[in-house]
Amino acid sequence: MLTLDINGRSHQIDADPDMPLLWAIRDHANLTGTKFGCGKALCGACTVHVDGQAVRSCSLPAGDAQGRKIVTIEGLDGRVAEAVQASWRKLDVVQCGYCQSGQIMSAIALLSENRTPSEDDINNAMDGNICRCGTYVRIKAAIQDAARSLA
């Protein structure tokens, strides 16, 4: 039995500690906003925050996430999250939308640490998040827009 603190709630999960956090979140806590894209830390669809850091949940054993604060897209709050989501909506970033939870989680982690990211900072922070629909032009613009609104 694992105990995970997800979005400020304690979840008892009947799984081995080697189960990736992604599957604990999706299949056991039934929080499905976090997505499965590759399972190998290659695409970022599964990005969540663990103690405030953007983490690929498909590649972190759930056992190692015990005792840490896990936040998924469903549990977002605060100024940065609001600004990022508002900019995403203002610019109609999404297409299929499947990658976008992960994109938003990575963008929030970036802006939480760096309110004035350069274009290189944005590329570096976001290059692990694939969007097969190719919405990168707008993702970048939305991050810049959110940064302006937070200034």
């Binding site: 897209i73 989501q85 939308g97 290059d127």
Partner: protein
Amino acid sequence: MTIAPEEKTIAAAVTGMRPQHLTVAADAIRSYEATRRAFLKGGAALGGALVVAGIAGPNGEALAQAPGANLPANPGAFVRIAPDNTVTVIIKALDKGQGVTTGLTTIVADELDADWSQMRAVFAPADHRLYNNLLFGPVQGVGGSTTIAGSWLQMRKAGAAAKQMLIAAAAAEWGVPAAEIRVARGVVSHGGRQATFGQLSAKAATMPVVADPALKGPGDWTLIGKDGATPRVDSLAKTSGQATFSIDVRRPGMLTALVAHAPKFGGRVRSFDAAETRKVKGVVDVVEIPSGVAVVARDTWSAMKGREALKVTWDFAAAETRSSEAIMAEYKRQAASRGLSAGRRGDAAQGLSRAAKVIEAEFEFPYLAHGPMEPLNGVIERRADGGIEAWAGFQFQTVEQATVAAICGVAANQVQLNTLFAGGSFGRRATPTCDYVSEMAHILKATGYRAPIHLVWTREDDMQAGYYRPMVYHKVRAGVDAQGRIAGWEHRIVGKSILIGSPFEAMMVVNGVDATTVEGANDTRYDIANLNVEVHNGREGVPVLWWRSVGHTHTGQVTEVVMDELAQAAGKDPLAFRLDYLGKAPRDAAVLRLAAEKAGWGQPLPAGKGRGIAVHESFRTHVAMAAEVTVDGGKVKVDRIVAAVDCGIVVNPDIVRAQIEGAVGFALSSVLRNRLTLKDGEVQETNFDTFEPTRMSEMPKVEVHLIASTEPPTGIGEPGVPLVGPAISNAVFAATGKRPRSLPIDLNQLGGA
């Protein structure tokens, strides 16, 4: 054998399936006889249950909903106005990101004079009687960028008829003439009196439906074509983790299934040993199905571990065991001889005999995976009433419904399909064989219908278990005469047909020539006097499928690179040279001029940079792109793409721009690096490391310019893709003097000019 009428209708619908997206849709209406023949050929491929229905008569529904039919307004099928003042549009097409949920809603809302904030959208149930694709015939499904083009009139009429009902209700309630009633932004008014749609909804529902309501003209549109007026209806859900994809469906007692597929295409299960698998915690069952062995578990992780522990012995007697290199070598041998005639203008051989300069060019294109971000998956269960219910990103609903029915032994009308948002498709979910949907049904059946089944493909399954853009080889001999005019163009294409052997064969394959192999080459819009296009069909056992823009993914590259080479041979500017051959294609000429102008064509660039241009029509949409690249140490960096688009009337300008931006992002990695290769018949690429999509740092700036048009709307999901390769290739030539032809571009393989 007798069959239920419903089954007969579904089967008739399947027979009439017209993959209109496969070709330029000018010849929209074909005879009933052709429909019937297509069915008779295709029925077997879809499963025995359908074969019996070839008897459907010429007065059947297939004709009633013939392609292009101008059907009476049916607001009941498409619009729901609720007392709470929301207006819900029923969306008959899969939305895999291309934005049709917003597009169809826009069309209805404008005719209805609704306020955008009151608009909602839901996906239609699978029902070909109401929701068929009018450009396909009597089948529900999407593909070929047909949704807006095929629904334009239908949705306008639905909105207009619903508005007439609201007006009639107000007229009756207020005792005033209908002609004096105004509707604007969701409010119905007469003098000082006014009511919301919601307040009138109950009475409006009792009013007669006008079959042919007057439609608004472009001057009266308040939403269609208006920038900023129609933000996407799915933005909120998709930015909050609330949008439901099939991978998110949770049913009571649901089990998750993964399938071990044969590592070579055409391989079959000889035997399997599940002893270790059954020891894995969480594994519930292991069952054999036609496409492999399914491991069924209480959650995804347990199913993954169970599948890893599974030992399967495969029978490769009928399997494809060659490498992609060997298959390409075979293509090249085939290309040495004359192929099937796919198109002929004038006399290419004679023209070439007069040529002053001749170029001979070979192009190789690899297999490509679609790689939708959401791996293929779906949920299926048996309901208490014996019917089957399923959830997935269904794209060919009528065929998928019939397939599930056939496997589970129920009538098609007992199969309820719930179409959900799909995390991308790019063609992959429009599979005539219904591969993954069949797996869902087979696993449900093999596990005795005891629990809902969630079939999940991993990324490795997506890469390795099939359906790819075909591998293709092109060989062109073309030349210019002493005046620099194109003297002749001989063009041979070798690749596996997508349609031969599929239910569409009789419809779309003429004299052995599959339109999807040659489209964009044999019907080039360039006015070339002497053109000869031939095709050889590859026969390898590798499953191939349409991949965003289908044949145009390679014919666009070949045509536009060869045009550049001919311009070079003629000593002419690539833009001016192209325009010389577009006199009869004014829309192509217009987008080409616009892209060139906005890109600053002719203005000098620093050393190491180059600018290239291309124009191509696909799915009746005209697109031109100019690319600016920097080539540094054998690496190509694309700095900027300027696109010009003519897709007729633009419904949602921002979605059109987004689709072009997305087409660039989607196609770029296939231009720069992606290839799917086989060794001993086994796919070598496994995940996004070895088949890596475009990443943000590689994304160029993209500018999109739209042509104002009064022509009916055409598609936008695909037509940006064919331009990305040739615009970049021609820019690389401008920068380096090296001429990229094959994709992906490999500068190390290229000699100097």
